[in-house]
């Protein structure tokens, strides 16, 4: 095993240990309100040990433990992003298979489909699709709807990755690389949708809705925004670091194909 792969495995192992340790230290339910809460967020223990009442990272504006909410919020946000990624990979591979059918018309249609999806502003696309479909028929489960729509938006990356290499073996590595890059983009997109209140339904925590709640009380409880932001950014940094170690190189930002 190469040094880079060993380093990637070590990072993943460290993250796993960190998460297990955090779960072991956590003594609170993410949705229960502390009985000592008097209307103002409780501070973290390192800020005021006598007023934290055992909440290591403090509480949010409703007196709910931030460590517990960050942990469960991470699970919700990452889970949603992974479901979206699965949609993207399955849809991308399916579309790429269709494009391999020896028909010029089929290939042209697939290309236009991919190019059309790339023209939609991702956030506006998801926002509008949910607004238009929400009331009764299309989307009874906003989480699944968001994952499906995000999957649709990111499937062009997988399609282009598959089509850029002739062999299945080579395609696997490229698809894995693109999937890792798409995962970070999907996490950010899902967090943004959550931030405006359309993703994970409260009181269930997610990175986006925790940051949105914290925004209102930022002047008196900075920790309610800083810690979820650190969890979110930390997750993105770990994914990017592991990707770079396994695949090497940096993000391809100007390897554009046809723009239209």
């Amino acid at each position: 095993m190469s040094r880079r792969r060993v380093a990637a495995v070590i990072i993943v192992a460290l993250v796993a240990v960190f998460i297990m340790l955090a779960f072991a230290l956590n003594r609170f339910d993410p949705n229960s309100i502390d009985r000592n809460w008097t209307g103002e967020p409780l501070p973290p223990c390192f800020v005021n040990a006598s007023q934290c009442y055992g909440h290591l990272l403090g509480t949010d504006n409703l007196g709910r433990d931030l460590l517990a909410r960050s942990l469960y919020g991470s699970a919700n946000s990452l889970g949603l992003a992974l479901v979206a990624l699965a949609f993207a990979v399955v849809a991308g591979l399916g579309v790429a298979m269709i494009s391999r059918v020896p028909s010029r018309v089929g290939g042209f249609v697939v290309e236009r489909f991919v190019a059309a999806i790339e023209c939609f502003p991702p956030f506006a696309f998801i926002f509008i699709m949910i607004i238009v479909g929400r009331p009764d028929r299309l989307f009874t489960l906003p989480g699944i709807a968001i994952a499906g729509l995000a999957g649709l938006l990111f499937c062009p990356r997988i399609v282009r990755a598959v089509m850029s290499v002739p062999t299945a073996r080579g395609a696997l590595a490229v698809v894995a690389d693109q999937a890792a890059q798409a995962l970070t983009a999907i996490i950010l997109l899902v967090a943004t949708v959550d931030f405006i209140g359309w993703g994970v339904e409260p009181p269930y925590p997610s990175w986006g809705n925790m940051l949105s709640d914290a925004q209102e009380n930022l002047s008196i409880a900075w920790w309610a925004m800083v810690f979820p932001a650190i969890w979110l950014s930390g997750a993105l940094l770990v994914i990017e670091a592991v990707r770079r170690l396994l695949v090497g190189g940096s993000r391809s930002t100007d390897d554009h194909g046809s723009l239209v």
Binding site: C119, P121, F195, S250, T253, D254, L259
Partner: protein
Amino acid sequence: MHRRRAPMSGLPPLNSGRSVFVRALATAIAIVAIVFALTAGFGNPSLVPSVVFEGKIIEIIIDYIPPTAELVFASFVLASLAGFVLTRSSARGLTVVVSGVVTALLSIPVFVLAIVLQIVLSLQFGFGLPSGGTCSNPCTVGGQLPYLILPATTLALYQLPAVVAFFARHQAGVGGSRATAASTLRDLAVLFAERLPDVFSASIILEAIYAWSGDGRLLFEMHVAYDADKGAFVAYLLLNALVLLLIRALAELILTRDRSGAEASE
């Protein structure tokens, strides 16, 4: 002697302006088909009267485009300048610092960046910048500038990692040959055209946070009365996707012309 630059990786052969036109037209048809397939049964969006804004929705959306265009353009300029300076700094031994800045920016959501900048540069430390809004009529360029600084800076920071990577590649030389200033500007324009849907997406949330009265804020205002204006949302999505397609098609035409010129001079 003229040295031809190697094409950027992954670029398919482009034969003529007509092929771009045909592809753009087919893509536009695909955009319309996708929107209607996903929003089937929600009304004809073309020029539908808006209940909320008491006017034709297409005209209203077009009215809101200039402030967004202003914001996006200002952010492009800022990102280009900052990217150029950072890449130069990187070449002078500040690689670790530049790499750290870029990696940090990649991992921060744009709305967090907006809130932090709003607090640091406007609310908490009072640098004299308004925390949001746009200047009221009559509005001069000087009057508008303070309102533009925060949203444009945030949007520029959002684009900075891609721009730094772009300049780093150009500094190293693409395909073994050094880039000229003109070709760098052209490729930069193409990069921005490619990233425009993402940037526009980020500008929507920024316009909501900074109360910038552009296309993004219109979306949130439409949301207030969404039951009445479903057709307006469909029109909004269609129009924005088609405008972005048009800009990308123009960028590709520039690329095609440049490539044809290079081939002719060979």
